[in-house]
């Protein structure tokens, strides 16, 4: 966390990782059966990095985020966030979490939903409104502030939940398939918005996606995971120049990294690697 305001994060240089996962396993016991959702996972994330988790359904991506967020506790292994335990980090409100489902409160308007964390954290009333409106504008929903969540489409609800997680400006962001329910154009737009926010604020992002191009386009590193038992297969650096823009997707390096991710994923699925 040497320099949070750096516009060009350089992960190699920071000595102590912001997030460190050491040998973490998570076993769920459900009705006699055991599910190894995560086995001996290790990962270090430097401050200012943008990490994508990618892998087939059920490989433990959500489980890993929930462990980091102290919503569940690991069966074994240790996790540190900025030197603290996940519980201490949660209690100091160190992270924002975009859940895989929008999970909005249906009795609150869209604006009030975005203000929820700010109310819990006792922000002054005027600032709550101002921040929430700004975040709604960021995700392109300023016109829907007075609607209720159930009056919005699934993709719009997901954008509200992104605005809610960003509203209190956490330095660390956990995002579980935040753009999964969006159309291609909105998704590309929000990708760029997220990258801009990340660059300008020096946030650290851990991001789950099923899309290879999205992972490569956004990330500094891509973590490829495999299922049954859930494991971290490989960690692939996405060493494309910053800032990224529409041309990034056309460069030969982009295709090389994407291909590396794809081959690693195919291995996890048990498919032969095509030469």
């Amino acid at each position: 966390m040497s320099n949070a305001s750096a516009t060009h994060p350089n992960p190699e240089r920071s000595s102590q990782p912001l997030v460190s996962v050491r040998d973490v396993s998570m076993v769920f016991n459900t009705g006699g059966a055991q599910t190894i959702a995560l086995q001996n996972a290790s990962l270090e994330v430097a401050a200012g990095e943008f990490i994508s988790l990618i892998g087939p359904s059920g490989c433990g991506k959500t489980t890993l985020l929930r462990l980091l967020a102290d919503l569940i506790q690991p069966t074994s292994g240790s996790i540190r966030i900025g030197g603290k335990t996940p519980e201490e980090a949660r209690k100091s409100r160190a992270y924002g979490y975009v859940f895989q489902a929008p999970v909005l409160y249906e009795w609150r308007t869209v604006l009030a939903n975005v203000m929820l964390p700010l109310e819990v954290m006792n922000f002054p009333a005027a600032e709550r409104k101002q921040r929430a409106e700004k975040m709604l504008a960021l995700v392109g929903l300023e016109k829907f502030a007075k609607h209720y969540p159930w009056q919005l489409s699934g993709g719009m609800q997901q954008r509200v939940s992104i605005a809610r997680a960003l509203s209190f400006d956490p330095q660390l962001l956990f995002m579980d398939e935040p753009f999964g329910a969006l159309d291609e154009i909105t998704r590309e737009n929000l990708n760029l918005e997220l990258l801009r926010l990340w660059r300008e604020t020096g946030k650290t992002v851990i991001f789950v996606t099923h899309s290879i191009p999205e992972a490569v386009f956004l990330s500094t590193r891509v973590v490829v995971m495999t299922p049954r038992p859930g494991k971290i297969e490989t960690i692939i650096p996405a060493d494309l120049p910053q800032p990224r823009n529409f041309e990034t997707r056309e460069t030969p390096r982009f295709f090389e990294v994407a291909t590396a991710v794809r081959e690693s994923l195919r291995k996890g699925h048990g498919f032969e690697v095509v030469e």
Binding site: L71, R90, S92, R93, Y95, V103, Y105, L116, H147, Y148
Partner: protein
């Protein structure tokens, strides 16, 4: 109809709006049923058994103060009992959320046991304990009825909030009071309002039952007294007045419901 506010439907004229309204349908219902009652009672011609509405109205005209003074006493008992019983039930429901599981379990068994004692027996005991004079014992019985109508559902609704919605608050490191305020209470409100309507009806019953067991005033007392002297029309008059008080209470609750859980009525297309 629950129309999305973004796409307002064609507004119907004022007459059509009125005809489709709740008030108009109640008026229609009242006219038809009271009319049928009048015709039936006149044809049957046994006012001691079934007095016609006109005869009941005549009874009211003879001495309006009788039903009004007694009615006012009962109304006070119902309102005080309802408010008291509901408040205690809501507080108890919240308290049960924080008590250790073992204590919660114990109290719940106590509530269920009390609930299975015939209410009439409880009511007669309360009169023995709190006395016949004044409205105290009647308020207590109405409150007891209202309490039991509400406490179980209110607690269940607040105890069974969506786990994912709880996790959102956990991730903000919220306090228990905040979870109650931002999640448990608002998400339970639709069920609480439905139960409050039941509690209102229960309070009406409780007040009348209390008065039947021991009172020198009130509608329940008036019903007993009128029956002794064989004035069936006056029994009906007291019952009708009682119904009006109940309706009034339900009406107030419906307004509050629309105000506080309008979102739910709209979401479930009840609005």
């Amino acid at each position: 109809m629950a129309q999305n506010s973004a796409s307002p439907a064609q507004k119907p004229g004022p007459l059509r709006t009125f005809l489709g309204s709740e008030t108009a349908r109640w008026l229609l219902f009242a006219t038809v049923s009271v009319g049928a009652w009048e015709v039936w009672a006149r044809w049957y011609n046994a006012p001691f058994l079934l007095p016609a509405p006109s005869r009941i109205l005549g009874e009211f005209a003879k001495s309006p103060t009788l039903v009004l003074t007694n009615g006012w006493v009962t109304t006070q008992e119902i309102l005080a009992g309802f408010v008291l019983g509901s408040l205690i039930a809501l507080l108890a429901a919240m308290l049960l959320l924080v008590l250790p599981k073992l204590v919660e379990d114990f109290i719940f068994r106590a509530v269920i046991t009390l609930n299975s004692i015939p209410f009439v027996a409880l009511a007669s005991l309360v009169v023995v304990w709190l006395g016949v004079n004044g409205i105290g014992s009647k308020v207590a019985i109405a409150a007891l009825y209202a309490f039991f109508a509400l406490v179980y559902h209110a607690h269940k609704a607040m105890a069974s909030t969506d786990v994912l919605k709880e996790e959102v608050l956990t991730s903000y490191n919220s306090t228990f009071i905040q979870r109650l305020r931002f999640l448990k209470l608002p998400s339970a409100l639709p069920i609480i309002f439905t139960s409050l309507k039941g509690a209102a009806m229960a309070a009406v019953n409780g007040a009348i039952v209390g008065e039947l067991f021991g009172a020198f005033q009130g509608l329940g007392f008036m019903i007993l007294d009128s029956r002794y002297v064989g004035n069936t029309a006056r029994v009906f008059l007291a019952a009708v007045f009682c119904t009006f008080v109940g309706w009034l209470l339900l009406g107030v609750l419906a307004v509050l419901e629309r105000r506080f859980v309008g979102w739910h009525l709209e979401m479930t297309r009840q609005a």
